[in-house]
């Protein structure tokens, strides 16, 4: 027991000296091994010695060893913490090398734009609807107040499947489908794919995307139409744009309007502006109050309810917003074009 005590004292002395000379982590580790190594360390040696003691001495001796062990551990930890704080990284690798890039896909610009439009209407409490792309003549034309053989149909050059079925030329048939199954209040937008018999060129395509809107309720007015579109267009483009409503004609609205916004490309200051042709205005939307005949066609009483509808080309509007000169770019799917929109 005495032996053990003096041995510990000796180790402690030696340790204090050794510790004061440790200058780096390597020396620290060496010292740790010398004392704490599980098999050959001094502490392990002390433990071995402990086993030879008579049982009644074991308890006190054990405590002595543990105190000593704790002391060493604490000292070494202190030293390690000091080294840690002083640690300096050496220049191992050129940190200006490029970092690892995350590869994510790019959304199609038309989808990006469509979502941007949808978001604005969702903020105004609209919900989103869609319907079939293969439509009947009734939904695409007749119910929307285009009589058979009417020249108004000439503006909607149609791809036919047979005498009755066609590829919808606008998203407007969904207006009818929704009004047939749901009574007012109705407050919807209808984004979707539409088809026309048109050969692709910079401003035409046989297939493109439209967004239609419809609000039907008691007391809906043309002023509500103007307010709604004013909010939408300003949220979509810029708070400062000018908006112009001018009379027009659509078979399914009365009164009808076309909506122009001031040309944000030239601000109306360039006579040969490619976007507005020098007029200072860009046509964005067709709109109007739902024609009373259309309401009658879906058994909504036009004396009681009124509504407005509007529609715009998603492609055309995106072309204007992003300054894309050729509509065909959307459908060529050149990834150099698409990947530009990974930033959108």
């Amino acid at each position: 027991m005495k032996d053990l005590k003096s041995k510990i004292e000796q180790y402690r002395k030696e340790f204090e000296e050794a510790v004061s000379e440790v200058r780096d982590s390597a020396a620290l580790q060496k010292l740790r091994n010398l004392y704490l190594s599980r098999k050959k360390g001094y502490v392990a040696g002390l433990m071995d010695q402990l086993k030879t003691l008579p049982n009644e001495a074991k308890r006190d001796a054990g405590q002595l060893i543990n105190t000593f062990k704790d002391h060493i551990q604490a000292e070494l930890q202190k030293l390690q913490d000091t080294f840690q704080k002083q640690k300096k990284y050496v220049k191992a690798v050129d940190l200006t090398l490029p970092g690892t890039k995350c590869y994510w896909g790019a959304p199609h610009p038309l989808r990006v734009f469509q979502e941007k439009m949808e978001d604005i209407f969702l903020r105004m409490g609209f919900s989103i609807e869609d319907g079939p792309e293969i439509e009947t003549d009734y939904y695409n034309f007749e119910a929307l107040n285009f009589p058979p053989h009417h020249p108004a149909r000439d503006d909607w050059d149609t791809l036919y499947i047979n005498d009755d079925l066609l590829l919808r030329t606008h998203t407007s048939p969904v207006q009818i489908r929704v009004m047939e199954k749901k009574k007012p209040p109705i407050r919807i937008i209808i984004p979707g794919k539409v088809f026309r018999k048109e050969t692709p060129d910079p401003t035409h395509a046989p297939m493109f995307f439209q967004m239609e809107g419809l609000v039907v309720d008691l007391g809906i007015t043309f002023a509500d139409l103007k307010g709604t579109l004013d909010f939408f267009l300003k949220a979509m483009f810029h708070n400062k744009i000018k908006i112009r409503f001018r009379p027009s004609f659509f078979p399914f609205t009365e009164p009808s309007a076309e909506v122009d916004i001031s040309c944000t490309v030239c601000n109306g200051k360039k006579d040969d502006c490619r976007v507005c042709g020098g007029t200072g205005w860009v046509e964005i939307l067709g709109a109007g109050m739902v024609d009373p005949q259309v309401l009658k066609n879906v058994n909504i009483d036009p004396e009681k309810y009124s509504g407005f509808a509007f529609g715009m080309g998603i492609d055309r509007t995106a072309m204007f917003e992003y300054q894309i000169p050729d509509m065909r770019l959307f459908y060529e799917n050149d990834l150099r074009f698409i990947r530009e929109f990974s930033r959108k």
Binding site: G105, E133, N162, P185, P206, I220, T221, D230, P251
Partner: protein
């Protein structure tokens, strides 16, 4: 339609700058497509509306402007020099069907000198982009572009039997048109005939034989109107559109016919012509004027703006309507015959709004009284799925919904494509039955432009027919070829392979809440043998994936290997998916056990997985394949599979013995099911 401003000045005193004039026109909906200053005149090209045939002449435009600018329309008079002969003494008019020709008027001008038109007339004709021909042709064009009423002139001497018959053509009749085309007539076509033969296709084009020529001296002037639908059908059938047919198919002003005839006669009188007395006018069934009731309160209800009564009554009167107050703020309005578009109160309200100015209508927002609680679920899911595809590194494309029949044959989707009756070209004459064709076009396009990888997806409809029905299915497809990810100095790039594709499918299915999907090996039209899987969910096929067949790739001129997958979203979304539930995270440590087996190489992973899952080991949190290899020291025909099983008890620390017993259960099941050998047992 070209409008000469000098010509307009015949009807209205205009004194506006070009920009003032254009602004005035556009504010009432006369949209200027372009304009040009030429020969001291301003020519504006206006958009036309299918419902406003009255604005297809200078008079109609002048009338609109007169209301807008509050200027009077100038009266015009058409003096004639009459001879003592009644028109009806020289010609008889018969109409066989008054529905097809509700009114026909005519007058004869004798002793006319055919020759070039005077300067003023030539100038007018040239201003609107036409070539002056001779005084008679120029006059009828002048009348048409002034009043929108088409006029036809016949050489009276060439009309046989002194008769004009408006009738449907007889089978086998033919007509050589003014343009020299030999038209074969069919019985539903309306013709103007003399006693023997058709002399004109009514309202569309005249015949060569009875046309006015240099030797003509006496002229029969026709001013009539015809059924718009009949005109349109015939014009479409023979593929001709003339200034006359364009107007007749939109509707003519039935009251104006005699005035148009008299105006023509009067102008021809300037070239020495003398007019027969009292024109012939066959008008079997004159209709009453249309009348519409307008209630003042409806204006506010529809426009959201009060408009003073004085403005309303004055505007309506200036537009040529007659107005009669019935009660306080309720008017009975008689609609002039030239406004065929006005039938309802809403039509009148539009007129008032148009002239009041759309810009004066205030901005309000429609009150929100009710909200749809749920979003369209299909849409929500499609958006989730698109985001997952983007995160997985696929770019999004949108292709036309058409397909080329030749490509459809090679693709063999197994569905019956829907043909388009009047396609823009043969290569777009079918609706696509699969998205994969479009995606392969995109692969080829991009590889040809130097892309070293193409990973793309599309969400859109595919179409097919089944019996008499057409179907549309919401579909997702994606293809992958070439390197994955960006090039980077730290690591070698991986190339896309089957498992890259399959990983995306698996991720999609589990993210969408369809954990119980499985794969079946089966031949699929698009894919190479032994390189295809069907994706099944609850016993039904919802998709397929695999390596695209060489012969298909050849059809698209693609030399690379391409993997593709297609999922039928319409089917998939009908399946009940697991809704998301929060489960508490394990608070006690897990025990993991690694086990390696040697097994026949044709044992399928999916079967092993299902066997383990079926055991329903209570605390097996997860397990996965860590390693798989063949070759030495693994015997031939065998494969080594290393799994890691992770066990965790939610309420306590799992004891080693418990984990051991679960592990033994798994090992025994696999040993019996697949003759597994533990690596140690080898």
């Amino acid at each position: 339609m070209k409008i000469s401003v000098n010509w307009l000045k015949n009807y209205i005193e205009l004194d506006l700058s070009t920009s003032e004039l254009i602004d005035s026109m556009e504010s009432i909906g006369l949209m200027v497509e372009s304009w040009e200053e030429k020969d001291d005149d301003l020519i504006v090209d206006l958009e036309t509306y299918a419902n406003r045939p009255d604005t297809l002449g200078h008079l109609g435009i002048a009338r609109e402007l007169s209301v807008k600018l509050d200027l009077p329309l100038k009266e015009q008079s058409w003096p004639i020099s009459e001879i003592g002969i009644e028109t009806s003494d020289l010609i008889d008019i018969h109409i066989s069907d008054e529905n097809l020709c509700p009114r026909y008027t005519g007058i004869i001008v004798k002793d006319i000198q055919i020759g070039p038109s005077p300067d003023w007339l030539r100038r007018r004709i040239k201003a609107i982009g036409l070539n002056p021909i001779n005084n008679v042709v120029d006059v009828s064009n002048y009348v048409l572009f002034s009043t929108a009423q088409p006029i036809h002139t016949f050489d009276l001497a060439k009309l046989e039997g002194g008769e004009i018959i408006v009738r449907e053509a007889f089978k086998g009749e033919r007509l050589i048109s003014l343009e020299g085309n030999d038209i074969s007539l069919t019985p539903e076509m309306l013709v103007i005939a003399d006693k023997k033969k058709p002399v004109a296709l009514a309202g569309i084009i005249g015949g060569e034989e009875t046309a006015v020529s240099d030797s003509t001296t006496d002229i029969f002037i026709e001013s009539a109107c015809f059924d718009p639908v009949s005109i349109r059908k015939t014009a479409k059938k023979i593929g001709v559109q003339t200034d006359a047919s364009y107007r007749f198919e939109r509707g003519a002003d039935i009251s104006f016919l005699p005035q148009a005839a008299m105006m023509t006669a009067s102008l021809l009188a300037q070239f020495g012509g003398k007019t027969t007395k009292s024109l012939v006018d066959v008008f079997p069934n004159p209709k009453n004027e249309k009348s519409v009731v307008l209630r003042h309160h409806r204006i506010k209800e529809l426009l959201g703006l009060d408009i003073e009564e004085e403005f309303i009554t004055r505007t309506i009167a200036m537009l040529g309507f007659s107005i009669d107050q019935q009660q306080q703020k309720i008017w009975q309005i008689k609609v002039p015959s030239f406004r065929i578009d006005i039938e309802r109160e809403a039509d009148i309200i539009e007129e008032i709004a148009r002239f009041y100015g759309y810009d004066k209508i205030p901005l309000t927002l429609p009150p929100l009284k009710e909200l749809e609680p749920g979003m369209d679920q299909e849409r929500v899911r499609i958006n989730e799925l698109r985001q997952m595809m983007l995160h997985s590194g696929y770019d999004e494309v949108v292709n036309f919904s058409f397909n080329d029949p030749a490509k459809e044959m090679v693709l063999k989707s197994g569905k019956v494509p829907i043909p388009i009756r009047n396609p823009i070209s043969t290569v777009t004459s079918l609706l696509r039955t699969t998205l994969i064709g479009g995606l392969l076009e995109n692969v080829a396009w991009n590889i040809n432009r130097g892309a070293d990888r193409v990973h793309i997806f599309e969400v859109g409809k595919t179409y097919f027919s089944q019996g008499d029905n057409t179907h549309e299915e919401q579909t997702l497809a994606f293809v992958t070829t070439g390197f994955v990810g960006f090039e980077h100095w730290q690591k070698k790039r991986k190339k896309a392979d089957f498992f890259h594709l399959k990983g995306t499918c698996e991720a999609l299915m589990s993210q969408l809440g369809y954990e119980s999907f499985s794969f079946k090996t089966k031949e699929v039209g698009f894919f190479e043998e032994e390189q295809a899987l069907l994706l099944h969910l609850k016993g039904e096929k919802v998709g397929c994936l695999g390596m695209i067949k060489r012969e298909i790739l050849d059809a698209y001129s693609i030399k690379r290997t391409v993997w593709a997958a297609e999922l039928n979203l319409s089917n998939l979304f009908q399946k009940q998916h697991q809704t998301f539930h929060f489960s508490p995270i394990g608070r006690f440590p897990s025990v993991s056990r690694d086990v390696s087996f040697i097994v026949d190489q044709d044992v399928r992973y999916q079967d092993i997985k299902q066997t383990v899952e079926k055991l329903s080991i209570p605390f097996l949190e997860s397990f996965y394949l860590q390693d798989r290899f063949m070759g030495s020291p693994v015997p031939k025909g065998k494969v080594s599979l290393s799994f890691r099983f992770i066990f965790r008890h939610p309420g306590k620390t799992l004891l080693a013995e418990e984990a051991d017993s679960y592990q033994t259960q798994i090992i025994n099941a696999l040993k019996t099911g697949f003759h597994f050998l533990l690596r140690e047992e080898e």
